[in-house]
């Protein structure tokens, strides 16, 4: 049971990573980050089944942080869009040296 759950979690995480690495749209990248978080949540829950309840406690933490992060992250993306009229990450390179 644990093995299957972890396998699924890994697939989910990998999809999230690939999404972050390949997509240009800030919102999709953001959603992929959420996907990675949820992959981690899945493994926490799976471990909680095998080793005790601690993992579930962490899932709540992660969900709370993810909710806060979603609020802040979307706010940033909206502010970005208002300034640059785009959410394409290739056009946003203010940190270029």
């Amino acid at each position: 049971m644990l093995g299957e759950a972890l396998f699924f979690s890994a697939i989910l995480f990998a999809i999230g990573v690939v999404g972050v690495l390949t997509r240009r749209n800030a919102i999709i990248v953001f959603m992929c980050v959420e996907l990675m978080l949820n992959a981690v949540n899945l493994s926490f829950v799976a471990f909680a089944q095998a080793y005790g309840v601690t993992g579930q406690v962490f899932v709540f933490f992660v969900m709370t942080v993810a909710a806060a992060e979603a609020a802040v992250g979307l706010a940033i993306i909206i502010a970005l869009f208002r300034h640059r009229q785009t959410v394409n990450l290739q056009n946003i390179n203010l940190l270029k040296g």
């Binding site: 690495l21 240009r24 290739q90 946003i92 390179n93 940190l95 270029k96 040296g97």
Partner: protein, 741 residues
């Protein structure tokens, strides 16, 4: 303070072992040294406290209408400051305490030294073979190098201690009169006390490093006191000159110490003496050690070519010239050679160098002294010349004769300097009363002072006859012993068999003998000249000034009288064996344990005995030369024809060369100072500092950082995707590293 001192004293006894001086006054050796330091602390504190107290730091400003007169007193170079009327003398607020503390520590130190001297005589005196060593604490235990703060009391350091504290105490008392009205009075005594502390450290240290601390310390005090009236740039420059010239010599002492430790493994005098047997006599090693030691002596004791600082050192107060630049500090070099006798006797070539330099210095400085007009400059060149005699003696292995001349010279030269101080004091006061700005030290402005300063006049004549070498006065015995020994060393000694640059040693010794005699002739002449121009003939200071010329107070004349007695009777210390007028060779016997062995080594184990006829002939020649020198001056020089400085015409020909001191300062300026400044400016400043350090170092590293930043900043693409890729690859790399570790 006292508990601290007792604590220091409690430490030693453990190491001392059984020595006849244990449990005697000699255990209080530390107090002799620390008393002057205590004086320094008290006087120095008073000087600093006064500066922070309310009211004017310079008391002369407190007396409204007198302030104007005191302005030129404070930045005057000539000492003996006094204000207009004696009843409103503006003194330093702590002058009273300082007048007591300053001399008192020296007097106490001297009394304690005398007690230790008596204890030494009780313990066998000249027969006491082993030095009395007091170890206080370990200072530098580094591997094989172990330097203790320890004092070594033996016959040689005893002689030096008696001279330093005895003559020092007299000069301190004199200073009370001479410097009392100076605004910097506590500072003056603080420096003077500190000087005596370092000087005692120098002669009592039981190893070269402690000696070297004293050596550097007296140099520091010399610098501070030469530049005592530092608001006048000339004086500050003279201090700097003394300090810098002495650095050259100090480098020599340091190198010599390194060589001694590297080759003998110890720096203790006792240890070096034992280990000296392992050195090859006459080898390059011991010769170089001695030459480097002698380089230090050349600096400290003002020999050719480093003598130039001593005449300039006369910028300091006159008692300082008497104590530091005549009686004690400048003789430290003679002490160092005598202390290192076990090394010098192994290096005849180095000894020949010492003799030759000494003889050349003696005649060179004496000839300059012939044409100086500043009374203190005459005495300064005379000191350089007499130091030359001392080096001739210790160089030729006649250590007792050298130390003997050191002692008698301390007596008569201190007397001459203090006498000149008394003269300058009188002249300065007279000029001060008449608001004249004439030179109070120039002999052309003096003349006929015997009527005004009878005591100074008589005592200075005694010292003059002593330094000239007139029989039964102290200088006669000491100088004659040096010249006589030089002659006998030329006949028979290890030096005579050695050679320097291919010239046989005996030739060098006989040449030095002739030079020494010629210098003795000049000494008699220039001293008589000084006395003639100062005390005889008409007075040239001016009519108004003459009414104000009078003898100094007793606090100044008193020390002169004591020194006068010593000057006359000092020769009794070491009467030669062939003269049946008293106990023979007291000092010779006293110093036997320290230098006896070395003196025998110089003469191959057999003491040289000249026949009595030869001895009498040598003495006769020396006396004849002294008398003819005086006679020449009396016949040829007429003080009546002299004109005051302001009317004097410049000299011509060779006399001008002498008056300008052979232009040595100018030559040094052109050959040493200017090139050094030039190289410093062009190479060190513009080249290395501005070019290398500034451009390559400071600006270069800034440029490097900028270039690295310009290149490195391209890594930052600003593309979020790139950063994400790098992050992921980094995570993979780290995880992989953990997996395949």
């Amino acid at each position: 303070m006292l508990p601290l001192l007792l604590q220091v004293a409690a430490a030693p006894a453990a190491h001392a072992g059984a020595h006849p001086l244990n449990g005697t006054a000699a255990e209080w050796l530390w107090a002799v040294v620390l008393l002057p330091l205590l004086g320094f602390v008290i006087n120095g504190s008073l000087s600093i406290i006064a500066a922070y107290q309310k009211g004017p730091a310079d008391p002369s400003a407190a007396h409204g209408e007198h302030a104007a007169h005191d302005v030129h007193a404070t930045d005057d170079t000539h000492g003996g400051h006094d204000v207009h009327e004696p009843d409103v003398v503006a003194r330093h607020r702590y002058a009273g305490i300082v007048s007591i503390v300053g001399p008192a520590v020296l007097v106490l130190s001297f009394l304690l030294t005398a007690a230790i001297f008596i204890a030494m005589r009780g313990a066998g005196g000249g027969d006491m073979p082993a030095p009395f060593i007091q170890r206080y604490f370990s200072w530098m235990p580094v591997g094989a190098l172990n330097i203790d703060v320890a004092f070594q009391l033996d016959q040689l350091s005893m002689v030096m201690m008696l001279v330093i504290t005895g003559v020092g105490a007299l000069i301190h008392v004199f200073s009370v009169g001479y410097m009392r009205d100076d605004p910097g009075y506590p500072r003056y005594f603080a420096y003077l006390n500190l000087f005596v502390f370092f000087m005692l450290l120098l002669v009592l240290g039981s190893n070269y490093p402690i000696l070297f601390i004293g050596w550097e310390g007296v140099g520091l005090c010399s610098y501070l006191l030469i530049g005592f009236w530092f608001s006048d740039k000339v004086n500050a420059d003279a201090g700097k000159k003394a300090f810098i010239v002495n650095r050259i010599g100090d480098f020599g002492v340091l190198v010599a110490m390194f060589m001694i430790f590297a080759n003998l493994g110890t720096l203790e005098f006792v240890g070096v003496r034992e280990a000296a047997g392992t050195l090859v006599p006459g080898a390059a090693l011991v010769t170089w050690i001695c030459l480097f030691l002698f380089l230090g002596c050349v600096g400290k004791s003002a020999q050719i070519p480093l003598y130039v600082w001593l005449p300039d050192a006369m910028a300091g107060p006159t008692p300082v010239s008497a104590l530091i630049h005549a009686a004690t500090m400048v003789t430290a070099g003679v002490y160092l050679v005598a202390r290192s006798n076990m090394l010098f006797v192994l290096a005849p070539v180095a000894q020949l160098v010492v003799v030759l330099i000494g003889a050349l210095t003696a005649i060179f400085a004496a000839s300059i002294g012939l044409k100086q007009w500043d009374i203190k400059k005459v005495l300064a060149y005379s000191t350089v010349s007499q130091l030359g005699y001392m080096f001739v003696a210790v160089g030729s292995g006649a250590f007792v004769a050298g130390i003997f001349h050191l002692v008698t010279h301390a007596f008569f030269k201190a007397l001459l300097f203090l006498g000149s101080g008394s003269v300058i004091y009188a002249m300065h006061k007279a000029y001060h009363h008449t608001h004249s700005h004439e030179d109070a030290q120039d002999m052309r402005n003096m003349g006929g002072l015997k009527a005004y300063l009878p005591w100074t006049f008589g005592l200075m004549w005694a010292a003059t006859l002593a330094i000239a070498g007139i029989p039964v006065l102290s200088g006669f015995f000491s100088k004659d012993e040096i010249i006589g020994t030089l002659f006998s060393r030329g006949l028979h000694s290890t030096l005579a068999k050695a050679s320097l640059f291919g010239i046989p040693g005996s030739s060098i010794l006989f040449l030095s003998y002739v030079l020494a005699l010629a210098a003795a002739f000049m000494t008699a002449t220039y001293m008589t000249r000084m006395m003639l121009y100062t005390f005889h003939g008409p007075n040239r200071s001016g009519e108004k000034e003459q009414q104000h010329l009078h003898e100094a107070p007793w606090v100044m004349t008193g020390p002169l009288v004591v020194l006068g007695v010593l000057t006359v009777a000092g020769g009794w210390l070491n009467i030669p064996k062939f003269l049946p007028i008293g106990p023979a060779g007291l000092l010779e016997h006293w110093l036997e344990p320290v230098v006896g062995e070395a003196q025998l080594q110089v003469t191959n184990g057999t003491p040289t005995e000249l026949s009595h006829g030869t001895e009498y002939a040598l003495v006769g020649i020396a006396v004849l030369i002294a008398v003819s020198g005086i006679a020449l001056a009396l016949r040829r020089l007429d003080p009546a024809t002299l004109v005051p400085k302001r009317e004097a015409k410049p000299e011509e020909g060779f006399e001008r060369v002498l008056e300008e001191k052979y232009y040595v300062d100018e030559i040094y300026n052109a050959t040493v100072v200017k090139p050094t400044v030039g190289i410093s400016r062009v190479l060190l400043w513009r080249g290395i500092d501005q070019g290398l350090i500034d451009k390559a170092g400071v600006h270069g590293s800034a440029w490097l950082a900028r270039i690295a930043g310009a290149i490195g900043s391209h890594v930052q693409s600003g593309q979020l995707g790139t950063y994400a890729w790098v992050l992921v690859l980094g995570v993979i790399a780290v995880l992989g590293a953990f997996r395949y570790r």
